[in-house]
Subunit: 326 residues, 2 copies
């Protein structure tokens, strides 16, 4: 880990709200800059039961990314992965629509065992993060079950069915987060968002509708962010009006939202103080009624992740005392 | 498959009682000779829950052996196995005393899932046996839980703890089969042992104390064998007074039993009509009060498995009409 401190960084905690791949890249940049001062709050609404195992796709993507174990080419799962379990599962007639690597499987089996033994997702995540060498703190947004349901013209699909089995092909009419109304913000998230010692909140460039909204849907989270009184900065997931990866752009089209900076700003209105957008989106974007910061947001290597993290932190720090749109 | 029929074979069913490795070798020889006329009744008292998974060591050894998937060098598990799951499990702090290969794991995960969905061990075993191409019928002796407990001078050990974690090192004072008194013989075993069309019963050269006794402990099994009225032949697991593999010899010493042919005969007295012993044990063995057949019993390749199977079947057929010791 290099760059634990930079000229512009303070001593305070930074809380990042994060989904899977795109968000995790910025989280890695932030971890490089902030180390243990980074607290990553992760979406748990993609979680599902499969083959009797509890699978937490976004949490594991963040775990693997921040520990350096992730496969950067494939975009999900672990590097140096093997697939012999899946091949043997097919032989005995098991469900193979969701790929589980041999190494990755260990995390699911062990977490499922510990959950059955009465441990919390939060406690297990903290322990495994430590074992895998993360310096950042990792917080499932809640220990209670939230499940994203995608409503299509034909049916209601559990998220992984939509995302993996149907490869995001069905049009989305609406998205709901079953269980969100009863979910309790986990104690770690509540503590991380305490005003004292908090520097800023960053919304990572994850899918706003599928990854960030189910975090924001947990009762108490928006209030805790508001009460904290620190700058809240979102990073747009769009680069040139397109999503780098995943169905963000397609979903915006299906929901009748223009895929541009203003739509992202409007989506987070009332919550954020500033929006980081890609330098390529700055020209021609519709007017946005809050401070923006246009920098290269495409994260192709570790250096670009650190650079974006530094830009986001500098922008957030500069927003202190600026007119809030909230 | 060659040798589906031989000069001496009849059309009747043969029921083989079988534990793990040694027994499975003879079962493979018998399957080669008998095909679908072979019914293998398997010990389930080694089963245990590990990492939240239901593991059936003897059933899986028989499955892998009869399907040609077994690792013949290692003596357990699958050939072409990889161990990436175990390596990753260690990274996240999981229990690693019991080795689970990546391919092998698929069977445990899928069986556990199907059990949780309400299927029986018998139904799952039949389906998987078919998928893996077994021609023999495979029957867990019971769908109810039986668990072997090894009583040592210091403690009571669940079987896999004794066998794997303690590598059979503690001396055995006694062995008990928890749950055996309440276990119900599975319907498939009951049907296989119906007198009509039954040719003989073979007790495979598995450990009499740890693998065959917990089969015989299921209420109704001994009676069903007796009522069937067909020859019952046991194959001694000893070769030159030693077990080929596993702790049979050590256990006989600890239980104060001489490790010889007569001890095996005495152990099965009242149940068997004849005993197949290794040609090397014939000389110098104490007198045995029932018919014996001395042939090479060491199964080093497929040909020797088939040859022993043919010898056992011929011996059993010849016992028809001989004086029974029962």
């Amino acid at each position: 880990m290099s760059g634990e401190t930079t000229a512009s960084s303070g001593d305070g905690r930074v809380v990042a709200l994060c989904g899977g791949v795109g968000g995790a890249k910025l989280a890695l940049g932030l971890q490089t800059v902030l180390g243990e001062r980074l607290h990553v709050v992760v979406n748990m609404a993609d979680d599902f039961e499969h083959l009797g195992l509890h699978i937490s796709p976004d949490l594991d993507t963040v775990l693997y990314t921040l520990s350096g174990l992730s496969d950067r080419q494939r975009g999900w799962g672990r590097a140096d992965e093997s697939w012999n379990f899946m091949a043997a599962l097919a032989e005995v007639g098991g469900e193979t629509w969701f790929s589980l690597g041999d190494r990755d499987l260990a995390l699911h089996v062990e977490r499922t065992r510990r959950l059955a033994a009465g441990e919390s997702l939060t406690g297990i995540a903290a322990d495994i993060a430590k074992r895998l060498g993360l310096t950042a703190q990792l917080w499932p947004v809640t220990d209670d079950p939230i499940r994203t349901i995608v409503v299509t013209p034909d049916e209601k699909l559990a998220f992984q069915r939509y995302f993996v089995a149907h490869r995001c092909e069905p049009a989305i009419r609406s998205i709901r987060f079953d269980g969100a109304d009863k979910a309790r913000l986990s104690a770690g998230v509540r503590a991380a968002l305490q005003p004292e010692g908090l520097r800023m909140v960053v919304i990572c460039p994850s899918n706003p509708y599928l990854s960030i909204d189910p975090i924001l849907a947990v009762p108490g989270l928006r209030d805790a962010v508001r009460v904290a009184g620190v700058p809240v900065v979102a990073v747009s997931p769009l680069v040139g009006g397109q999503a780098v990866k995943g169905p963000t752009r397609k979903i915006m089209d299906e929901l009748g939202v223009a895929a541009d900076t203003e739509a992202i700003a409007a989506h987070y209105r009332g919550l954020i103080d500033g929006l980081v957008i890609d330098a390529g989106d700055a020209v021609g974007a519709r007017a946005v009624d809050l401070p923006t910061c246009a920098v290269p947001t495409l994260m192709t290597d570790d250096a670009s992740k650190v650079r974006l993290a530094q830009d986001v932190l500098a922008f957030g720090d500069a927003l202190c005392g600026s007119t809030s749109v909230r």
